[in-house]
Amino acid sequence: MKLNWFSKKEKPVLPSYYLEYEASILQNKELPIKETRFIVFDTETTGFSRRDDRVLSIGAISLIDNAINVNDVFEVYVLQKVFTAETVPIHGILKEGRIEKITELTALKLFLNYIQDAVLVGHHVGFDIDMMNEILKRNNLPKLQNKTLDTGTLYKKSKHTVYQEKDKHYSLDNLCDELNISKSDRHTASGDAYITAIAFLKILSRLNKNDDLKLKDLLLD
């Protein structure tokens, strides 16, 4: 690879779908929690390696004012060359399954168009963001620029100081047990996104007891 530290960095020409996405982020105004569009999302992948593994499906749900709109959900299955048989039992997506699959690039375009400037929420969201960023990178695009929230971290925050265990790792299953959420449909991207959304609503209401919560309170760690 040729190193060109000194040459003027060429600005890559970004495709229109990314520019539209970026424009929405730039126009973003901070809204009260009640009006903020949150998108809870989850990816099913072939494994846990950012570099070698691939996204098989993306499930996402939008959330405004304590309500999920079922007509504003996102669910795609991605055609991938990489395939690991070991994870099939977990996510249930077959290589040649009957579900209609689309290319990674199409999935990306649809996803960016869907999320716009929403606040992205996920359980251990870092991994899902990383996986999405890898897709962006493979297509020579900058990273996601949305604000993000992690339900694992928020859940810890919602517990009384006395019971907070800084280092404890809460799996989505733990969260379901503690927040009394039915675990049916775990391990599909949409199912996990739905469960995470319910968990997020419950956590949010716990944190917002005084009805004066601001987005920046959530973003601060």
């Binding site: 304590n66 309500a67 999920i68 709109n69 079922v70 669910e75 795609v76 049916s184 209401s205």
Partner: protein, 638 residues
């Protein structure tokens, strides 16, 4: 794009009415547009007087309480749980909400967008009927808890019902009409002559343009607002709601509820721009629906033979069926059915007296005891009755007793022919032990109360619920007086009655599972009479006796009276009254469905929601048993 969330929503919705009446494809169409709302305990979904939402709601998890605010009071109307729908007002009328909807516990609620729902369900009659009954029973009588008997809305599909509701209504042809030139006085004279409660104002082409009803005359004329010489135009209600003649009963009800009117004008093409050909009143709609109780009562009174009475009594069963299907409040139903039952007995006694060689030597009264005495008998049950006759000289006693025993055996035999089974324990007036003089009765009760034992309790618990059906009311009153005098001296009987009342533990078991009767062929069946109704009946009787209140025999009325007497326990007593009515209705429906008394319910025949709703009725049973246990010190006895 695939939408797994919508599929999940539809998997839920398809189990519940009215959605279960739609095809899966249509349910999915609705599900795609659903809004999932999370509510913490105490959070409000809508307030009374709020503008109506674009959604109506179904509870996914948790419970939503509906309540009505008045100046300084808040009355709980209903608690909706899993699968219950609420917030139907926007579907029916465009007014603001009349109730508060608040999360009673942490809840998830699905908002069903009305526009989508209406488009998908089109004009499905069954759905409309379900929604109307749910709506009407929740909001039209907000001042009582009567709507609670709506707990068991008839979502069970019944073809005959649908048929009858699809029949065209019988409207009144040749309605009374007048033109705008008439004065109110002229119109009123015509109404009065024809003994009709309304007159239609028509134009020259005979198109209906307005209506004057009795209430217009009351509100606008009798109050002095308008003089009787005013033109009818001044006071008529306008415009009128018009319909075409092949209107179904269901549509007629729908129109009346929607427009809040009691009269529909029938015109040749159904619009107000065509000739008036008839009028349909609220009364016509009711009359079109099944039988009419007034007619049945008249027929019973005129019957000359037991056989005739049997036929008429069977009509009452049809009436009962249609009442249950229409979701008419249970207390109204039981009043009417009790009235019919009583008049059957009265007519039979009259006919039996004719069979005797001579009139009764002394005054007597015929008592209904047990469920008929409590006016809770809806289906045919066993006969439980007794006879009191006036005290006589010792010399005449035997002869007198013989006379009444003979009379009683005529009566019980006839009742049996009509369809009331003989009481297996022979608690009938034809049994010498249940056919006695007033003093004998007094002694018997005193004996039960003073030398109380389990057998005495069983017997007295039936007899405490007596009600005079025929004959001399004062005999029964005197007996009651004597009973209460003895009761006040002896309180041990309360302990025994209390023991009886808590003997069957509340069916709401520790694991919230149903306690089922687990012996033999009763396996997996639930005895709703023994487990749910009797504990409430026993509790009400004991409490009302301990308050020295006589003459209220009906269990739900007893609880309502208790709520009045003990404001601190008002809520519990009211919920007992409500649970009792709901359970009795449930038992009656089961009985009609299986053609038996309905007291044994097969658990597998219940849907999940029915189980849920039954469980809700069990809560007050547990609470009332706790109250009895504390109040009458029963802890050590159990």
């Amino acid at each position: 794009m695939k939408n797994s969330i919508a599929e999940r929503v539809s998997d839920f919705l398809k189990n519940y009415p009215p959605f279960n009446l739609l095809t899966n494809k249509k349910i999915l169409e609705i599900s795609t547009e659903v809004k999932v709302i999370y509510l913490e305990k105490g959070k409000v979904l809508f307030n009374q007087n709020d503008k109506i939402h674009k959604y109506f709601y179904i509870v996914r998890n948790g419970g939503i309480s509906l309540s009505k605010k008045s100046e300084n009071d808040k009355t709980l109307i209903d608690i909706c749980d899993g699968g219950d729908i609420f917030g139907l007002r926007p579907l029916i009328s465009k007014e603001n909400y009349l109730l508060d909807a608040t999360a009673n516990e942490e809840s998830i609620v699905f908002g069903i967008p009305i526009e989508v729902f209406e488009a998908v369900s089109e004009k499905n009659l069954k759905i409309n009927k379900y929604l109307i009954t749910s709506f009407a029973s929740k909001s039209f009588d907000p001042y009582t808890n009567e709507q609670s008997s709506n707990v068991f809305t008839d979502y069970i599909e019944k073809n005959n019902l649908v048929d009858s509701n699809l029949n065209s209504v019988k409207y009144t042809k040749k309605p009374l009409s007048c033109t705008v030139k008439w004065t109110v006085k002229e119109a009123a004279i015509k109404m009065s002559n024809r003994k009709i409660g309304c007159i239609i104002v028509v134009n020259d082409a005979c198109y209906p343009i307005g209506i004057i009803t009795n209430s217009d005359l009351k509100n606008k004329i009798a109050t002095g607002l308008f003089s009787i010489d005013t033109s009818v135009q001044e006071i008529m209600s306008t415009p009128v709601i018009t319909q075409s003649k092949n209107l179904t009963i269901l549509d007629a009800q729908l129109q009346m509820i929607k427009h809040k009117v009691g009269h529909l004008c029938i015109t040749t093409d159904g619009t107000s721009n065509s000739k008036l050909i008839g009028i349909l009143t609220n009364h016509d709609v009711l009359a079109s629906l099944g039988n009419n109780p007034t007619v049945i009562l008249k027929e019973i009174k005129r019957a000359k033979k037991t056989k005739e009475i049997r036929k008429i009594r069977n009509k009452a069963n049809l009436l009962l069926k249609s009442y249950l299907e229409q979701n008419i409040p249970l207390s109204h139903i039981s009043k009417i059915i009790s009235e019919i039952n009583d008049s059957v007995t009265i007519r039979i006694i009259e006919l039996s007296l004719k069979k005797m060689d001579s009139p009764p030597p002394v005054k007597f009264s015929w008592l209904a005891i047990g469920s008929q005495g409590r006016k809770e008998q809806l289906l045919y049950t066993d006969q439980d009755n007794a006879l009191i006759f006036e005290d006589t000289d010792a010399a005449d006693y035997l002869k007198t007793k013989k006379y009444f025993l003979k009379l009683a055996s005529h009566i019980t035999k006839s009742l049996h022919k009509v369809g009331y089974e003989y009481c297996p324990a022979e608690m009938m007036a034809s049994n010498p032990e249940w056919c006695m003089s007033l003093s004998e009765w007094k002694n018997k009760f005193n004996d039960w109360i003073i030398n109380v034992d389990d057998k005495a309790i069983l017997l007295s618990s039936i007899f405490f619920d007596y009600n005079t059906v025929y004959g001399e009311v004062n005999l029964a009153k005197e007996l009651s007086k004597s009973i209460f005098e003895t009761l006040n001296e002896r309180t041990l009987i309360y302990t025994f009655l209390g023991k009886e009342a808590i003997a069957s533990p509340s069916p709401l078991g520790f694991f919230k599972q149903f306690l089922v009767e687990n012996n033999g062929d009763r396996k997996d069946s639930f005895n709703i009479k023994k487990r749910a109704l009797m504990p409430l009946i026993n509790a009400a009787r004991l409490l009302i006796l301990s308050k020295n209140v006589s003459e209220i025999n009906n269990t739900s009325q007893r609880f309502e009276k208790l709520a009045e007497l003990e404001p601190q326990n008002k809520e519990l007593y009211q919920s007992c009254a409500y649970a009792f009515k709901a359970l009795l209705k449930f038992k009656t429906k089961q009985g009609i469905l299986n053609n038996d008394s309905g007291k044994i319910i097969l658990l597998e025949s219940l849907t999940k929601e029915e189980k849920l709703k039954l469980k809700r009725c069990f809560k007050p049973i547990r609470e009332i048993q706790e109250l009895l246990s504390n109040r009458f010190n029963l802890k050590n006895i159990r």
